[in-house]
């Protein structure tokens, strides 16, 4: 017996920058799919601590497994991939990005655009801010014959980058990563080309920061969590260091400045957002399996995310870091060392408190994902500390990155509604003790 036909999900609204970045990323996947024929070399690597400019200087195309996993989730494929990986012996307790990637690989390695991803010519393990990355590439190394090179990026445990840390990364780049790239590509390291790429990166980074800082305006013209996922896409993935990224971020900035000038809020998948009622800072990655539904839970309540830590996993540009063509390898090292998940918990707490103040937020929310201990371990401590220091209320919800079994829509919606009601009450009566 068949039930009623499901209501089709309306096409998501997209602003022109979203359409543009979608085209850019589609073109990248076309190049990847064609790589076996064109002979272009590919390297599998990670978003945090990625060495896009260095790869670009060798004409190597990056493939980012965690992007593939989140894309699989957005296309509704991750559940099957995870299930397959668990059948193959991967524990239900571990990172679902890894399992989705392994499942995808074992299912033919079909990427987000429906094309087969090429086998890697190099596994470039940028071991930055996440222990699981190391295990992930040990697993991939068993599947492919490609050489593996590992770049260990020390953890900023004391909240600063020391000379020893910088030197360790630079020395690994010089003595291990670059020679491996030379071997894989048959080309010599070209520092002038790297400098050109880094200069382009810095231009794009300037414009990205201007976009993110637009959220200081009331109403915010952007959503700096859900919307920022699209904004950071090109710079976090394959386009940092390219002219295309410079052009994209210039156009994006202009688009956002126009929205700001017209007093417009963000564009959500459901269309133009209504009145801005709450300004929220968010910590933690989004859920990807129900991304649109999750965003709608915020936008329906008039909640705009004005800053997020997730938008900094691929670089802390808003704190002033820029790739520097005058110090190419040192600059790459500082980039890797400075990614958000490589920061100590006290530094993360400082950052969220700073965002609450700078972006005049009403409160902050933590989306704690089961898969990611790098983000999640310690988030309840962050919640407590940030509340105590900022005096602004925190909310806590739990989901997962790409495993739909851990996205309980009713539960999350319930918690969010309660949280927003609390913010509403607080805005009416900001100092209840004194008032009473």
């Amino acid at each position: 017996m068949s039930g009623p036909a499901p209501t089709p999900t309306p096409e998501a609204s997209k602003d022109s920058s979203q359409l543009r970045q979608k085209e850019m990323i589609a073109r990248h996947f076309d190049r990847l799919a064609a790589a076996p024929e064109t002979g272009e070399k590919t390297a599998y690597t990670f978003v945090p601590g990625n060495l896009s400019e260095l790869l670009l200087s060798f004409d190597v195309l990056p493939v980012l497994p965690e992007i593939n996993s989140l894309q699989s989730a957005m296309r509704g494929r991750s559940a099957d991939y995870i299930s397959l990986a668990e059948k193959l012996g991967h524990s239900e307790d571990v990172c679902t990005y890894v399992k989705s990637d392994i499942g995808m690989l074992k299912s033919g390695n079909i990427g987000p655009t429906g094309q087969r991803l090429p086998n890697p010519d190099l596994l470039l393990l940028s071991y930055t801010g996440c222990f699981t990355f190391m295990k992930w590439f040990e697993l991939l190394a068993q599947e492919y014959q490609a050489p593996v090179t590992m770049l260990q990026v020390p953890y900023q445990a004391d909240g600063r980058i020391t000379d020893d840390m910088r030197r360790y990364v630079v020395d690994q780049l010089r003595r291990k990563v670059i020679p491996t790239l030379e071997q894989v590509t048959g080309r010599a390291y070209d520092e002038d080309r790297l400098r050109e790429c880094l200069a382009l990166s810095a231009q794009a980074e300037d414009d990205l920061v201007a976009v993110l800082r637009a959220a200081r305006h009331r109403p915010s013209p952007i959503d700096a969590y859900f919307g920022a996922v699209y904004y950071v896409g090109p710079i976090f993935s394959s386009f940092r260091g390219t002219r295309a990224a410079v052009d994209y971020y210039r156009a994006l900035r202009e688009e956002i400045e126009q929205r700001m000038a017209h007093g417009l809020g963000p564009v959500t998948p459901e269309g133009e957002m209504g009145a801005e009622r709450f300004r929220i800072v968010v910590e933690g990655p989004p859920n990807w399996t129900s991304f649109r539904q999750f965003w709608k839970m915020f936008s329906d309540e008039g909640a705009v995310c004005v800053a997020s830590t997730y938008a900094k996993v691929g670089g802390m540009y808003d704190l002033g870091f820029r790739h520097d063509p005058q110090r190419p390898l040192e600059s790459l090292a500082e980039y890797c060392l400075g990614c958000y998940t490589n920061l100590s918990l006290p530094t993360r707490i400082d950052l969220i408190v700073r965002y609450l103040e700078e972006y005049e937020a009403d409160g902050f929310l933590i989306n704690s994902v089961k898969s990611c201990n790098s983000f999640s371990a310690g988030q309840l401590h962050i919640l407590r500390e940030v509340e105590a220091r900022s005096g602004r209320p925190g909310g806590f919800i739990e989901s997962d990155l790409v495993d739909p079994r851990y996205f309980s829509a009713a539960n999350i919606k319930n918690r969010l509604e309660s949280y927003f009601q609390m913010l509403q009450q607080k805005s009416r009566n900001p100092n209840p003790v004194a008032a009473s």
Partner: protein
């Protein structure tokens, strides 16, 4: 003076193991006025601390008898148990005698715990020991050496004596002696497992974590002599197994006993690895700090926390199984342990390629019910005894 009886030694080890409040450490501090620094599992270079007059104290989390009141408020349900019990012990005053904590690079949970420690106990040292994953002396080796020098300077700032090559050389020799005693115990268990039940050996491994190395070495020696002298321990018809995966959060003692009662004779394991992480004696040369670094780079146990090149994954585990004549392998990992559980499929592949029988289960340090594991381990042991070629 006659040697202490076995029962007396076991009772002492058990008392040290059970003492959450670190009475032995408090007593040592009262006696010496020195600093005591805690460390989380797997590996820290205890020699360096000892050379500066500091007592290294292993902190391995809690057991089923530790009521977690505050610790659970810091961690979600899907995080392993050891950080919540460690926080609990910190907040309930058990770790008060410690002047600081070292957090070796085990995983993201322990890494983030180092930051929580900085926030929760700002007056104490909280040092994240960023162990190198690059084993080239000029790369990872140099970085690690600088980190050790930084740690040493932090200890001096807190009142420890400065590090000298002479003192470090002496400390390395003392820890070499302890490593030799531990190796001798493991060798004895390998050859005569009935003499050395693992649930009893484990008490001594844990006791050593709160004692000065001179005392722990002597305790191991006395224990070895006592079990050799004990005529009451007779061979048992059990399956010889290696247990792997329990290198960080430790299993409850009841789980180890359960496995033994189910017919498994554990002939090698991953427990309290800090005592054996460096596999051989460290040669004491002109540059003892360099020797300590070199030992970590070249002579450490394979561990899921340590990067392993393709092709060598699982190699050491297979060798361990073969070397101790084990008939099977138990994957015994804590729930939500990323290093152990992410490694497991690769290790399974390696051992299956060698035809080694295995079974897998998970635990938490506070598990109190073992019936399911008992049945599983019992079936595994029976199948080995009935069907293996051994």
């Amino acid at each position: 003076m006659s040697a202490p009886a076995l029962a007396e030694l076991v009772a002492r080890a058990e008392a040290l193991y059970l003492d959450y409040r670190l009475g032995a450490v408090r007593e040592w501090k009262r006696r010496t006025g020195g600093l005591a620094i805690g460390y989380m599992p797997i590996y820290v270079p205890r020699e360096l601390l000892h050379a500066q007059g500091v007592l290294p104290v292993g902190v391995m989390g809690g057991r089923e008898d530790l009521e977690i009141i505050k610790g659970d408020a810091y961690y979600q349900s899907y995080i392993c148990h050891i950080p919540r019990s460690t926080i609990e012990l910190g907040l309930n005053g058990s770790l008060d005698p410690l002047d600081g904590m070292l957090f070796p690079a085990i995983c993201d949970v322990i890494r983030n715990l180092s930051g929580m420690w900085q926030s929760l106990f700002p007056a104490k040292l909280a040092h994240y020991l960023d162990l190198p994953q690059d084993f080239d002396p000029e790369l990872g080796g140099r970085f690690y050496r600088h980190d050790l020098e930084r740690l040493s300077a932090s200890l001096v700032e807190r009142g420890a004596r400065p590090l000298t090559p002479e003192a470090l050389a002496r400390s390395i020799e003392l820890y070499n002696a302890e490593r030799r005693e531990v190796r001798a115990l493991y060798e004895l268990r390998r050859t005569q497992p009935w003499k050395l039940p693992t649930h009893e050996l484990y008490l001594f491994l844990r006791a050593a974590l709160v004692l000065p190395v001179e005392e722990s070495t002597e305790l191991f020696r006395q224990y070895r002599l006592a079990v050799l002298d004990d005529p009451g321990r007779k061979p048992l018809d059990q399956a010889r197994v290696v247990l792997t995966g329990s290198f960080c959060e430790q299993p409850p003692l009841g789980l180890i006993k359960t496995l033994e009662r189910a017919g498994c004779s554990i002939v090698d394991d991953d427990f309290v690895q800090v005592l054996r992480f460096i596999r051989s004696d460290i040669p004491v040369a002109d540059d003892p700090l360099g020797a300590l670094v070199h030992a970590f780079l070249t002579d450490a146990m394979a561990s899921p926390t340590r990067y392993v090149d393709r092709g060598r994954k699982g190699e050491e585990l297979v060798q361990r199984v073969r070397a101790c004549g084990a008939e099977g392998l138990l994957f015994c990992a804590p729930s939500f342990c990323d290093p152990a559980l992410l490694d497991q499929p690769m290790l399974v592949k390696a051992v299956e390629a060698e035809g080694i029988a295995w079974t897998a289960f998970k635990y938490a340090e506070n598990s109190g019910q073992f019936q399911v594991i008992r049945e599983q381990a019992g079936t595994f042991a029976d199948s080995i005894k009935l069907w293996s070629n051994a």
